[in-house]
């Protein structure tokens, strides 16, 4: 859990594979990298077995670049598509049994605080909609009520994509899927309201068709979780296989869904705003009152 774990043991440089050497010499560790620098540095994420054109992979790639301190971060995941990519990054990954990822992250985050004290060590949970809203629901809500200080990210593809297309709590009402041929009979769960009721300090929805926004949302969530309390991000990451979206139209679909039902929303608690302002010079964007806009005529 420091820069030492991304260095070579003495004398072993020349035996290391090229990807490993690139990672140590030109990776994101120990320096600030941003989304606008993509394509010119070696990323922590490596090759992975996710489907071609998967929006979830794009989100995971952006999220891993956005971590404020990748060398001090541990990711926690559970069964589902997402872990296939998250586990292929040069960041320690803990694989929880199905549904217990927020329980595992609670213990991990408390243990790291005992061991390292004030030195920031970030725990980020990235799990699918099934892992977060269905099977892991109880542990997710309890970790929020306990105000555990880590970030929960839901990779919401609105289906159980890894097991053939069953409906999940986050599937939209009426959606017909391969393993739900009659259409879903209930509404999509409102996890955002539940996160606010449970006392999360930061709640946001995001769609990966705006990479810089994904970056800023992840950075804020991880920084707030260091000191203030639980943070929750819900990201729309379409499943192009189960929803039969042609791969080259994945971003078009993301744009349509963003305009339709996944608008960017952000809730920052007063305590979190104060923390961000004092430490990082955060300025809240507020629309100008009508009187302040100069009259063009």
């Amino acid at each position: 859990m420091s820069l030492d774990y991304v260095k070579f043991s003495n004398g072993f440089e020349k035996f290391m594979p090229k990807e490993y050497r690139d990672m140590v010499e030109h990776g994101p560790f120990g320096k600030k990298v941003t989304v606008s620098q993509m394509g010119s540095f070696k990323e922590a994420l490596e090759e992975h077995p996710m489907c071609a054109g998967c929006a979830m992979t794009l989100f995971i790639r952006l999220a891993i670049i956005a971590f404020p301190n990748p060398e001090d971060t541990i990711t926690v995941g559970t069964a589902g598509c997402g872990r296939l990519a998250i586990s292929q990054a040069a960041i320690p990954f803990v694989y929880g049994n199905y549904g217990d990822q927020n329980g595992v992250a609670s213990g991990l985050s408390r243990g790291l605080r005992l061991r390292f004290g004030d030195k920031p060590k970030d725990v980020v949970v990235m799990a699918g909609d099934g892992g977060t809203a269905d099977i892991g629901f109880q542990q997710v809500l309890h970790s929020w009520f306990r105000k555990e200080r880590f970030t929960t990210i839901m990779l919401d593809n609105e289906v159980y994509g890894n097991t053939g297309g069953q409906e999940s709590g986050m599937t939209n009402r009426g959606a017909v899927l391969k393993m739900a041929p009659l259409g879903k009979k209930f509404e999509k769960m409102d996890m955002l309201q539940m996160a606010k009721v449970a006392g999360c300090a930061y709640v946001a929805t995001v769609v990966p068709n705006n990479p810089r926004r994904v970056e800023s949302v992840i950075k804020k969530a991880v920084l707030i979780a260091r000191e203030v309390g639980s943070t929750y991000i819900q990201a729309y990451t379409s499943c192009n296989i189960e929803y039969a979206i042609p791969t080259d139209k994945v971003m078009e679909d993301a744009k349509t869904v963003e305009n339709d039902r996944y608008q960017f929303t952000e809730y920052v608690s007063e305590e979190a705003k104060q923390y961000l302002t004092e430490r990082y010079g955060y300025k809240e964007f507020l629309p100008k009152p009508a009187a302040a806009i100069p009259n063009k005529a």
Partner: protein, 107 residues
């Protein structure tokens, strides 16, 4: 044979929007090189594809055509590419990468 993305350096080096590098779902697949465009006398550098990592989803084609409106990326059969970048031939610098182009077909 299979399709991989192919960047037209002439168009890319005159626009240099770098949008495709931010939208590819594969890590380190669309790379950016300052030298690739400048070698050919353009003002900016150009994006290029590490073809051994490209899964052929064509997401970058949509981004280049519809978001950036540059139409610089086309899907091409890999055996139709005389020269392409491979991960092993890419060197990272401080602010950019350089690639030695070689035939993507082995044997």
């Amino acid at each position: 044979m299979y399709l991989v993305a192919n960047v037209n350096v002439e168009i890319c080096a005159s626009k240099s929007c770098k949008l495709c590098t931010q939208y590819c779902p594969e890590a380190n697949t669309i790379q950016y090189s300052e030298e690739m465009g400048k070698e050919q006398g353009f003002k900016y550098g150009s994006a290029y594809i590490a073809v051994d990592r490209c899964k052929g989803c064509a997401l970058c084609v949509w981004v280049c055509d519809s978001l950036a409106k540059n139409n610089a990326i086309k899907m091409t059969m890999i055996d139709q590419l005389p020269k392409a970048a491979l991960t092993d031939n890419i060197t990272y610098g401080d602010k950019s990468t350089t690639a030695v182009l070689a035939s993507p077909m082995v044997g």
